[in-house]
């Protein structure tokens, strides 16, 4: 990269992209660049960093809505929400440390562009489910908007959904509006101890199939539980299966007791209260177990929940794999030792029977350039994807190659 544009207005973003389109000069689109090592490496002569577009522009707590410039630090937004006892309910993970950078360095635009979501995904949805409105500049250099500032809105196509998870390949976002929600008054986490993967899946399935509104269901094998900074988890002496309930005080007490009672046949259980519970789920959210293993390749695998252990089992054969589960078995975090294809072929093969997708979240740049980082698509889907890309960015100047080689 030879230079970086740091526009300070939407108009300047449009000017920069219009220039790039005219000159057919690719741009690497960045928020605050905290997740630059995520995705395929972009071959671009110029950067377009949106950190100069910062600041909350509207926050109406009683309307459950917040608007901000796309480059606003996520930490600033979370602090403003915390003052009103609110939060981004999709629990945006902070991948900074996992990717070898600082904690708390990301932007709201980056979180949305990567459609990141934490353990509460199973109950509250992903970033895309909270994304109400967007203003952006397409690869044509044209400013456009979609959505609005209200939750109930079916006016026109939902282009916010397309922006979420597009990794800056369709448009450079300049302003975003998200739905915010009250933070839970109380949180408790029920820990089931010493379960193997299959029993843990059964426990999580029973919990998530109950009326207890479980908002986190994760399973850590013994070797990863032993690394936790939460002493109850670290000292459990075996695998830990965690089930979170959140809400009002009396409700949380009732539901955590009910879960322990209903799952008593699976052995002993423990309970984490507010601070320990929050610490544990932050570790699960931010892939903390693999931060301290920087040599490992890290994959994020989304599968039908019941397929989780089978996919992990297929991959563990013959190699030194480590895995833990979130989303009740539906999200598999996998650490593999470095290898030539990064485990890509075995992973794709393991997924072919059950459906789902695998994304290489952390790996060396050479590997990310060599293998598909995102799930490969069949020819019809790939063709449609290319047509959608061309509808926004016909000259392919925005983050070319970030998701798919050549696109």
């Amino acid at each position: 990269m030879t230079g970086i544009f740091r526009p300070e207005s939407a108009r300047q973003v449009a000017d920069a992209v219009a220039w790039a389109a005219a000159e057919e000069e690719p741009l690497e689109v960045l928020g605050r660049a905290s997740k630059r090592a995520f995705g395929r490496p972009v071959q671009a002569g110029q950067g377009l960093e949106l950190s100069g577009l910062a600041g909350i522009t509207l926050y109406e707590a009683e309307e459950l809505v917040l608007s901000a410039r796309a480059g606003t630090p996520i930490a600033e937004i979370e602090a403003a929400l915390a003052e009103k006892n609110q939060e981004l309910a999709f629990e945006p993970p902070d991948l900074g440390p996992l990717l070898g950078g600082e904690a708390g360095a990301g932007s709201i635009g980056g979180v949305l562009a990567c459609n990141l979501a934490g353990p509460r995904r199973i109950k509250a949805g992903a970033a895309r489910d909270h994304f109400l409105g967007v203003s952006a500049v397409s690869g044509r250099g044209e400013a456009f908007k979609s959505g609005g500032r209200v939750v109930k809105n079916v006016t026109g196509y939902d282009l916010c959904k397309l922006m979420a998870g597009s990794h800056g390949t369709l448009a450079a976002m300049t302003d975003v509006t998200v739905k915010v929600l009250p933070a839970a008054e109380k949180t408790r986490t029920v820990l089931l101890l010493g379960l193997d993967d299959d029993k843990a899946l059964a426990a999580m399935t029973r919990a998530l199939g109950s009326a207890h509104e479980v908002s986190g269901a994760a399973h850590l094998p013994a070797v990863l539980a032993a690394d936790s900074e939460v002493s109850y988890v670290r000292e459990a002496g075996g695998a830990v299966t965690a089930l979170r309930v959140e809400g009002t005080g009396p409700s949380v007490e009732y539901r955590s007791a009910a879960l322990r009672r209903e799952l008593a046949d699976l052995g002993e259980s423990e309970e984490l209260h507010d601070r320990n519970s929050a610490g544990f789920w932050q570790e699960v959210r931010d892939v903390q177990p693999f931060v301290a293993r920087p040599e490992c390749l890290v994959w994020r695998v989304s599968v039908p929940p019941q397929a989780g252990p089978a996919v992990a089992g297929a991959l563990a054969q013959g190699q030194d794999a480590l895995a833990y589960y979130d989303w009740g078995g539906g999200l598999l975090w996998l650490a593999l030792p470095p290898s030539k294809d990064g485990g890509h072929a075995a992973l794709r093969a393991a997924l072919s029977g059950c459906g789902g997708h695998a994304t290489l979240i952390r790996g060396p740049e050479t590997l990310r350039a060599a293998i598909p980082v995102f799930q490969p698509q069949d020819p019809a889907m790939a063709a449609l994807t290319a047509r959608v890309k061309d509808g926004f960015d016909p000259r392919r100047v925005l983050n070319p190659g970030r998701m798919v080689a050549g696109l």
């Binding site: 908007k145 929600l181 199939g209 809400g247 009002t248």
Partner: protein, 495 residues
Amino acid sequence: MKMPEPDATVLARRREIARALNAIVPGEGVIADRDELAVYESDGLTAYRQRPLIAVLPETVEQVSRILAYCNSEGIKVVPRGAGTSLSGGALPLADGVLLCMARFSRILDIDFANRCVVAQPGVTNLGITKAVESEGFYYAPDPSSQIACTIGGNVAENSGGVHCLKYGLTTNNLLGLEMVLIDGTVLRLGGKHLDAEGYDLLGLMTGSEGLLGVITEVTVRILQAPETARALLFGFPTNEAGGNCVAAIIGAGIIPGGMEMMDRAAIHAAEDFVQAGYPLDVESLLIVELDGPEVEVDDLIARISAIAANCGAVTSRASESEEERLKFWAGRKAAFPAVGRISPDYYCMDGTIPRHRLPEVLKRMAEMSARYGLRVANVFHAGDGNLHPLILYDANNPGELENAEAFGAEILRLCVEVGGVLTGEHGVGVEKRDLMGTMFSEADLAQQQRVKCAFDPDSLLNPGKMFPELHRCAELGRMHISRGQIPFPDLPRF
């Protein structure tokens, strides 16, 4: 309402097209008889009527694919239709278009309790999904008022909501996977039983796309275990401001109820006259709040919300003490549309969304418009999320009154946009709000949306005349005006 000019050559080829479709869907799956087509001439927005060229009722994905491929290669327009309950004319036929009815896709394909999802064909009704899983205590959360009749495929096309979507989300938040067919006959699968999309979120894009991008042939949705208990609260307020303030105070206290519905004086009276729900008649604003969850949570929240309502000046305050009473509280709200239908020969249901705190002002200005147009209006309101349903009362037998009602409705929707809201919260743009899109979107916004359409349907054969006020050719939309050779941003920080 102006629809695209019918193509005379297509109209002239009616019999030939019917024969070709009959070769794909044999027997009674092709309807070309003028009289038999009458039942399809409108959807839930009955003010607009048009008989289709031909209606076809396929039974298999392969048939859908062949029908679309045929229409695409012959340049024939296609309008998809589920149960035809759209309130925005989304399924309004075209004189020169094939109406593709998905009613025969009515089977549930897979009930997967362990993965907490159901795979269904698009013609299964919304309530049909809940019925299929309720034996195990599960349900499908989005519950539009038409849930007995409306289909899950239509719900996806319109991103349907319902009274519980404040807490449980809209269709888009409960959808896991789709199988769909593009206009060229290509069959695609998006998502599945896992969460989140690989690649672009086309599942999210399809939801609410009003049948303009593809035809849905299979749907996978999440199911939830039903809450242990549910109770409702009924509050009456002397002013709309007081009712609105109470809603804000409840959410401000960190409480997201299962449902929160408001009615204005006209709607309260119409509903009470119709179903005798026990609503107070001496209030300006009625609020129904539903709490669901374990009993201990519901009891706790009822106490807290009752205190908030008292603080906001509620003059009526009741909590349901039995399931029968809870249903009675809801009966009036759920019957609000037919209740208004009883007091007026016709009514026109609007669907804007506004930032909630603008409600008193919007209701006040609506009352002024009502006086000006000489038409009564009753309001029901999904109070938690700001989705407003003004019902304009009119008589279509009086010359000019429909047009007057339409003009009144358009002015209400422009007001919704003016105060920071949107044209439609859950009914869709369809033909009804098509020509108002320009009040919310610039030409550049609409052009970008249509470029997305071009990626799916380059000749604009799927449901044309809906959603967009003007049809542009994809080639024209794709053109770029480039002025090369200069950097037009001397003041842009560059490092």
